[in-house]
Symmetry: C2
Subunit: 641 residues, 2 copies
């Protein structure tokens, strides 16, 4: 079958096509993406929604020279197809394959590698100011969804947009749908605009814009001034953009390629920042995704037009355990409140929302305020649980410092996706939470290794009166024999007593890997001690006693080595070693081995491969111990004088 | 002299006073604050601006039960005076004295200890949602300045304000003045509103609001509905708040106590969040501050109505050195751009702004977007320098991770107020930057110890192609003999060769303290090695060689011990020790001593006292070494088998 799509190997190939052909191309791309995602998994609905907009942008702009910024970036598939990466979709989100997000290492057409929300307008503003300084004339376009524009970072950028005295086009891709329904006043405002007019209105708006922004015959500045005076190019004057003095055009139909091309051609020549408001349908063209865009936001492989996703072996993950446990906890304790930042599904709060709608808050993609709302609630004697992925909680770091840690308030952070996240790659790994949280006084940090520990940690957090963080990875919950020892803040548990000089101390479910490594080594005659630290803060002083036994202690974590759990153990062991009569500790702290993420970004790959890469898989832990064992022994020659 | 002020020992004492008496009280408080700040130093202009508003709030609300949230909080002096802390002003901002910011440990009238911007609306929203859950009826009031409301956190809170189905009053204190002139579109919008009407208009607005919000005779909900329909209570409908569906009242005169009392009484009974826009004059009533509110934002002691501040011995601080050095650099290198977040003066950019207005950007209190604008500029081959205090840069942590470190872009962070900051206290210390920055791959972190090192670090940063951070404290620049050794990325320098087993390795100007300690110890016959690490990342491997010499190594930093410089040295020394044939390192890493901030908040006090408290003053370093020397020696018994 010969298709138009097969003839497109770069944006230049769009040049000769008629609007009808481009529309056909959009249909083919829709089919291609649906088929491709059904094979590999990936983001579906958002990508189906922006195909026509993407085609029109690439037809009008030359993004070899012009710059296109994506926000969050999971909607860039059409862009990748059009920029020579069609064939790479067979390895979408695979190791050494095509990233699911923009990635400058993959293509010059990708400007920033992104994954967090609200960066498109802010970085576009930086590019525009840079171009202003360089006196270069490239066009800059930011495509931002209605879910991302409510982020504080977007607002800060909009508030400063006036710094740019040149072209900068913001395309507001409005599908009334973040990953879940977009929250907040701005979403309501956009929805009201949406409901207040007909399809004919939208066509009229498009025509009115094109009429007022002619490409020839009138000076653009004059046209813009005219626009500013009349504000007639929008159906409803958009008060938000108006109050910020940002020219606003729209809303227009985001699936009408012909009109979009005209609009981009006209708007490309504005010498001022401007917003084009585009209506799209998330999931457009693939019925199940169109009907259920939330489910098909990010999906595993599925059968195209089948009744459901391909069945995947249903192993229970940490998110699922949390999902049940937080409901149980809330049933017992009326003070429990759950807060999410646009991730009710990803963080496991759907059940909670159904059961306790009055105790559930979704603030949209706005992690900073999620933390502060929790701080306020904690002041009111409630027990708020803030459920945010590790990497996104970085947005709340300063709030965790000032409003939670400094006030010593009982806010609990339920940190999903802590550690390696698999195919989403570097923008999404949770590699820093142990560091950025353990620096803060008053904080307790638990890293449950299994189902019971997660439940116990939640119960401890609710019962306590101080800041609490619970981190767990995007992984299935291991079952670990012998780990059912009473759970107590700051207490570690020893799961294996080894006779060799080797001990492995783990934080979180890496315990499973350590236990498997120990079992492997046992068969080779190496008997290893395994300790589950359970807490990254406070560190159990019992762990230091390993050093007095002259053990070689491997400290393993699914987190950056820098500032991580291992570093915490060493820092505190050194403090203890400095106390009078604790010279027993001096002997072997030096023989600690830190295992975790080195000072590099972990590439996209299956999570199991990433653990291997970080040398914290069972196999790698065993290898490390065997290597250490084979090293020439030290005869310790240090006798202090 | 008997004054009204002397009769006010708590908000209850306001009850019997007439509007005339309250106005007299405001005058007395103005005099009291001016006199008090002239003695102790502190924030002047902002406090003079909100006296009448504060009196009116305390007259109407009962903040024993009701809750008053301050934003940034440096404008809380009148509030402190009215809540029984008048006599404590003699020790304003002194050790064990009155904090310059709200502090719950000081008074139940202070809800959060704050210092960062944008938290008042967000925490007020949390309190309101908590009250909603608790079905309690306390009134909640947030007072936010026009500078803070442009912060992304404020916006996120405003966008989510609809979650509260109850009273929540936001008082927008608009003095058209952040610490410097407020930046951005919103500031322009507010200024336009301000210029578009007369004093009579404002009086009319006040009367119209009071007429439409009667306290008796009509149901409040009805009044609000009526208000929402007509939007007639504002001179200009405020489009920003309108687009967010937030009832907006104003602007009104923030120095008219009588009207303010009426307004607060009326608005207190609204069953919905609302904004009251209040015009004030920063510095009102003290002429020099009124004329120059920027200078008198935060001041040292000065002569009341004298011509200038009391002369303070003019020692050159790091900020001053930076101020000159960045101008010099920009003269040589056209790619150098400076970005600040509302702190041109504090970060030392006034000269730069004067000299290079086109290469200077102030984005307002919006640290997140400051980082992203820099990232965009760096993509355009420029060399942006982002100048933000350590504690406020925490707001940009996620942006530094994704937009700078992950993209490996040459953005330089000039981090003033790194380490202990003195009297501003816990909200302002820069204790975490070494941790949150060194976790990030690609980052270089320099901590200059003196003037030349700061200049050299800036030059290195501009010449490089990767992320760079330069941290320096709020302190005078020491002159350190022998430190003029060529400056090279990641290279430390040895300033003293000691014959004893003690070595001190420092990062930043704590070097001075270590040198002084060494000099003291020399007189007592202890000869100490002193090394200036210069860089916290990368760590110079030469430092590890100290361990091979079986030294007792003190690692001293003006930063949290957790995740700090010392931890970095140990982490990396352990990595090296794990390499084949490096068992020589095994002997003494255990004898490292980490000096810096323990896991506690450093109280407000003079910086010198804080260094003492952290045991990194010359005296404390010397004491530590003497104590270690007197400890019983270890005979090392570890012989591995």
């Amino acid at each position: 079958m010969s298709t138009l799509l097969e003839t497109i190997n770069g944006p230049k190939d769009l040049a000769g096509l008629s609007v009808e052909e481009l529309t056909q191309l959009a249909d083919e791309m829709r089919e291609f993406i649906t088929h491709s995602v059904s094979q590999t998994g990936g983001h579906l609905a958002s990508n189906l929604g922006v195909i026509e907009t993407t085609i029109a942008m690439h037809r009008v702009f030359d993004f070899k020279k012009d710059r296109l910024l994506w926000d969050v970036g999971h909607q860039c598939y059409a862009h990748k197809i059009l920029t020579g990466r069609r064939d790479d979709f067979a390895k979408l989100r695979q190791e050494n394959g095509l990233s699911g997000f923009p990635n400058p290492e993959e293509s010059d057409y990708d400007v920033f590698s992104v994954g967090h929300a609200g960066t498109s307008i802010s970085t576009a503003l930086g590019l525009a100011l840079g171009a202003q300084h360089n006196k270069s004339d490239e066009k800059i376009v930011a495509l931002v969804g209605d879910a991302s524009i409510v982020n504080g970072l977007s607002f800060e950028a909009l508030n400063n947009l006036g710094l740019a005295k040149r072209q900068l086009l913001i395309v507001l891709n409005d599908n009334s749908m973040a990953i879940d329904v977009t929250q907040g006043a701005m979403a309501k405002f956009l929805a009201k605009v949406r409901l207040s007019h007909t399809y004919e209105d939208i066509r009229d708006t498009t025509n009115r814009i094109l009429e007022h922004l002619p490409l020839v015959g009138k000076r653009m500045e004059e046209a813009v001034e005219n626009f500013k005076r009349t504000l007639r190019m929008a159906i409803t004057p958009n008060r938000l953009f108006e109050s910020m003095n940002i020219p606003y055009f729209g809303p227009v139909d985001g699936h009408d390629i012909g009109s979009l091309i005209g609009l981009f051609e006209a708007l490309a020549h504005l010498h001022t920042p401007a917003v084009l408001h585009v209506y799209t349908r998330k999931g457009k063209g693939y019925d199940p995704a169109d009907d259920n865009p939330c489910k098909y936001h990010s999906t595993g492989p599925f059968e195209v037009n089948g009744t459901s996703e391909k069945p995947v072996a249903a192993k229970r993950g940490f998110t699922a355990v949390f999902s049940d446990a937080i409901v149980d906890l809330a049933e017992k304790d009326n003070r429990v409140i759950a807060i999410t930042a646009a991730m009710p599904d990803g963080t496991g709060l759907i059940k909670f929302r159904e059961k306790f709608p009055d105790r559930y808050y979704d603030v949209g993609i706005a992690e900073s305020v999620a933390v502060d709302i929790a701080a306020g609630m904690a002041k009111q004697s409630l027990r708020p649980f803030v459920c945010i992925y590790s990497t996104f909680l970085q947005r709340g770091f300063d709030q965790i410092f000032q409003e939670v840690s400094l006030q010593n308030l009982p806010v609990t952070f339920c940190i999903d996706r802590a550690g390696a996240v698999g195919n989403d790659g570097p923008t999404h790994h949770g590699m820093y939470d142990l560091g950025y949280l353990r620096m803060l006084p008053n904080m307790t940090i638990a890293a449950p290794a299994d189902e019971n520990e997660l439940k116990n940690a939640l119960a401890l957090a609710a019962a306590g009166n101080t800041p609490f963080a619970i981190r767990y990875p995007k992984d299935t919950v291991p079952v670990i024999a012998g780990n059912d020892i009473p759970y107590e803040t700051g207490k570690s548990v020893r799961l294996r007593h080894g006779s060799s000089e080797f001990a492995v101390v783990t934080i979180g479910p890496i315990l499973k890997q350590a236990m498997e490594a120990a079992a492997m080594l046992e068969t080779e005659g190496i008997s290893v001690t395994v300790i589950n630290a359970r807490f990254a803060k406070p560190i159990d002083p019992d762990i230091f006693e390993l050093f007095t036994q002259n053990k070689m202690v491997l400290l393993a974590e699914d987190n950056s080595i820098a500032c991580g759990f291992g570093a915490a153990v060493i820092e505190q062991a050194l403090q203890v070693a400095g106390e009078p009569n604790r010279q027993d500790l001096h002997n072997s702290i030096s023989k600690a081995v830190l295992l975790g993420r080195p000072d590099l970004f972990v590439p996209a790959a299956p999570r199991s491969r990433q653990l291997d890469w970080m040398k914290i898989s069972a196999k790698q832990i065993a290898e490390t111990i065997k290597k250490l064992k084979s090293q020439p022994k030290t005869v310790d020659k240090s006798i202090q004088t």
